[in-house]
Symmetry: C2
Subunit: 289 residues, 2 copies
């Protein structure tokens, strides 16, 4: 395949799929799709983990593979300030699979679901050459307590929860920030939010794109022991958000930058004051020749 | 893997996932999961098509692969009398994939969606060794216009729409019976329904299992030119339903059997009157050593 980024693909898909009916509040291009149902908003998201791409069976137990498949989806609902509710699990099983392994996988999925009050209500099983777990998660949000990628305003602070660029990001089960997501949303001080799954550079630029703003990101303020990994490593599953204030009550987060006008650009400021263009170098499924 | 049927797996998963909250009307074990949302019921289903398992690129164009992936999910919503509404598409793409092929695939998905008034509102793209399209479909039904697999009553007729055991079942795009599903449901005469995706034997026995009834199926009444294929071939995507009457207004369907008490058994009656046990020999992803 010619060098084509996942973003380009998603843009193409957006164009083909066209406009939405009035019940669809948010379509392709945020952490979840949002559909109005009565006075509630329903959040829909799907994310998968693929053997050899997102995990290796050498570093992940079947139990943790299951947990991670659930967690990465729960993180998408957290990133909009929602409550995860129900899950459908699509399993793709290679022929070498054992009943024991399937049991452990489901054990992990269910442990993670129980932790966040999610019920598995359906799914599908199919053969494939690789072990793949594709999860479809349904969440809920109140109409007035939801944050998109698109609300960042000039002058807002940029914050991130916890630490990023974690050394073990690719071998551990992430902890979706559901509680933090809801506190951030209900504070009414936050304006845009995303979960950091592809690396801070890629994900913060999503907020800039959707909000039509620029950004100054301060490298030395990143809560990390490896700036490169924080920017481009991925799999952190922390929440990156913009807010009119530097502190949200009860949420551990670090101010790492500020929102500036779109025309002013997107910059990474290093400790010595040197500016370089902030470029999305994070995880991209399709950034190869 | 030891010889284990998909049914056994699903039963095990049901046990692990446990009870549902009061909003979950129907969990694992029907064509869709059903969740109450205000005065509507939301239907959730997921089904995938996998290269080398459900289709070959020799017999299916990328456009038709896309159409089929959408159609098999729409059929699940049809089987409950619902209206398909929104779709999330999870694409697993091997490295050989071209942009052109992805465009054609999406063209097919969207053609099928447009036909049934469905909007694609989200999805995910990931690498894998095989081309896989995993679809999550959201549908709606009115609380009083929904049919499960579990409502068949002793004395009911068993009917099937259209023809079954189609010779080209595995190489054509099926036509989901959304209109028929809604007419059947709204007639208030039907008691249980399923879509015939795995072969009539397997799918009719699902109705028997969930409704706790027996059945007499008349081989010579099947609308087919190949009884074996009708019973065990799969991929027909017609609707099999039970009803208190032999005819539903405006729906082309054939009476093929009748519901009897569970203790009376499940029988296939041949033309010469010979009875044999009706056994699920249809498509089962896990019926192998």
């Amino acid at each position: 395949m010619k060098k084509v980024g996942e973003e380009t693909l998603i843009d193409k898909i957006k164009m083909v799929t066209g406009g939405y009916s009035c019940n669809v509040i948010k379509g392709i291009g945020d952490d979840c799709a949002v559909v109005k149902a009565g006075n509630k908003y329903l959040l829909y998201t799907t994310d998968s983990i693929v053997e050899g791409v997102h995990f290796s069976r050498k570093t992940f137990s079947p139990h943790d593979i299951g947990r991670k498949a659930a967690a990465v989806n729960i993180s998408d609902v957290a990133a909009m300030g929602g409550r995860p509710k129900q899950m459908l699990v699509s399993l793709f099983l290679p022929k070498w699979i054992t009943e024991k392994l399937i049991g452990e996988l489901y054990g992990g999925i269910n442990e993670e679901c129980r932790r966040y009050g999610v019920k598995t209500i359906g799914g599908n099983i199919s053969h494939a050459n690789q072990l793949i777990i594709d999860v479809f998660l349904i969440g809920e949000a109140d109409k007035n307590n939801i944050i998109y990628r698109s609300g960042a305003k000039i002058g807002d602070k940029v914050l991130v929860t916890g630490t990023v660029g974690k050394k073990d990001a690719w071998t551990r089960v992430p902890e979706p920030r559901v509680k933090e997501g809801r506190l951030i949303t209900r504070s009414k001080k936050a304006t845009a939010m995303i979960d950091v799954s592809d690396g801070l550079s890629t994900d913060l630029l999503h907020i800039c794109d959707e909000s039509k703003v620029g950004v100054r990101l301060y490298a030395d303020r990143l809560p990390t022991d490896d700036i490169g990994r924080a920017l481009n490593g991925g799999e952190d599953y922390e929440l990156c958000f913009t807010a009119s204030v530097p502190k949200i009550k009860d949420v551990k987060a670090t101010v790492i930058g500020e929102i500036i006008p779109q025309a002013a650009g997107r910059w990474l400021i290093e400790k010595n004051g040197r500016k370089s263009k902030l470029i999305a170098k994070g995880w991209d499924h399709f950034a190869y020749e």
